[in-house]
Symmetry: C2
Subunit: 296 residues, 2 copies
Amino acid sequence: MTQKNTLASPLFVGIDGGGSTCRARLTDVKGHVLGEGKARSANWRLGLEPVKAEIITATQAALQQAGLEKMPLSALHVGMGLAGWVLTKDRTTIQPIKDLFASCIVSNDAYIACLGVHQGQYGGIVIVGTGSCAQIIAPEESRTFGGWGFTLGDQASGAFLGHQTVRLTLLALDTMIPASDLTDAIAASFEWCPEHCLTWSLTAKPADYARFAPLVFQYAAQNDPHALALMTSATADLVAMIKVLQAYNTGRIALLGGLAKAYEPYLPSHLLASLQKPAGNALDGALLMARKQILV
Amino acid sequence: MTQKNTLASPLFVGIDGGGSTCRARLTDVKGHVLGEGKARSANWRLGLEPVKAEIITATQAALQQAGLEKMPLSALHVGMGLAGWVLTKDRTTIQPIKDLFASCIVSNDAYIACLGVHQGQYGGIVIVGTGSCAQIIAPEESRTFGGWGFTLGDQASGAFLGHQTVRLTLLALDTMIPASDLTDAIAASFEWCPEHCLTWSLTAKPADYARFAPLVFQYAAQNDPHALALMTSATADLVAMIKVLQAYNTGRIALLGGLAKAYEPYLPSHLLASLQKPAGNALDGALLMARKQILV
């Protein structure tokens, strides 16, 4: 017999559909965590069917952990944020996923992170990891800045730093710019062979470029001229992202993502001092959205 | 009856396998042009079979124009330069194309252009069009610099300028940098909509980016700050390509490609004055290679 979930005791699921992992968290009406589940990437750009499958997998895993494996998805109130969910048409093409659930509100992964980090209060976040983007939730508007991907955006991100570094390495191997310890290290990883570099690039994904980013920070700390120049320009891009959020005067801005800590020494100290520690995460934000639909 | 070609009266074909067109030129032993033919791109990265087909099409068209349509390909002495012919393994995988002809020597398109431009004498060229690369033919060595493609190379090229401009436009639309007349012009072409930009980028080829390059030159001439900054950095990249060739002291360097003229006002005048006018083209170079095989 299928268990019945009613508005009297609704169940909520928060889903964080990231670029590498899709995570789901199930809570009761009091916010107690009943179960959690995981699946592979639910980046919206992968297409409806794969994303739908990962969302179902992660949600069913959370139900199972809660001992509620017989609960139908159609009984759940869901809030989700998906990486790559940025186009206007996405709002309609996602309908088959929304139809799985009793209620479902969708946004992008930056929005739920911002919501969670500031526990539903107004504020902004800059995420700088493999990619980069900024999000504000303010009385005037909620808006994502950047997030246009590796080809056209992702300034200051790990993929951006790695990409620039590989470009510089090829210029150095071609003796068109001076080599440095940084370009030597990258060149060595390609056995000093531009052909290897080219072959690698034919299938390299943003995450593959981002793997070189730690080297940029490492050599910048040793005053490598190419690394320092890259850090100067990337930090300026990051500062521009923070400043666009400061203009909203929410008084709450947090810097998140795998490279947030590494950038701290490069940020102007007054800017760094103005940043807040995250009070929650993207799953918290997704659950806030889920609850807001039916409990206002 | 098939006509017979002998070493006593050899026929030569020069083939310029470019990124958009494959051209063939047939000459007799005295260098008289007997016929010319054209086909689609013979960029080596398209793969053996399509490139082979275009080379055959262009060559047969040249034979036909010469009234020699019954001449077998196996009677012809061929020199060819192919775009994208850069990897060591290309030297063996191209064998089925070489086997079509009585003799066939292959290089990349930059090499035959350099050979033709300087009529077989030592010298160097920088090609700056949709892509970019440099080539030297010198006593010490013959070498291509750059030519690593849109993702990792092509500095100062039209694709590079266009790409940087679209990136800047998105930053301006996101209010992270000031807009300018240049970014406004690009933004207008995308109906001021970052989403259109993103959708376009999903299928945009280097040539699509390069279409924006003329706008960069146009607005730089009107002192647009973003256009000027781009021109400063791209010109520095172009100068580095010229200087790496000057180090060989051949005394002959030419600047070629669709953007060569547009860059002239930005080059240091002593550098510009040192450049030579091309004395021939890539087909001339390919024919020089073809002849060299059997007439030393």
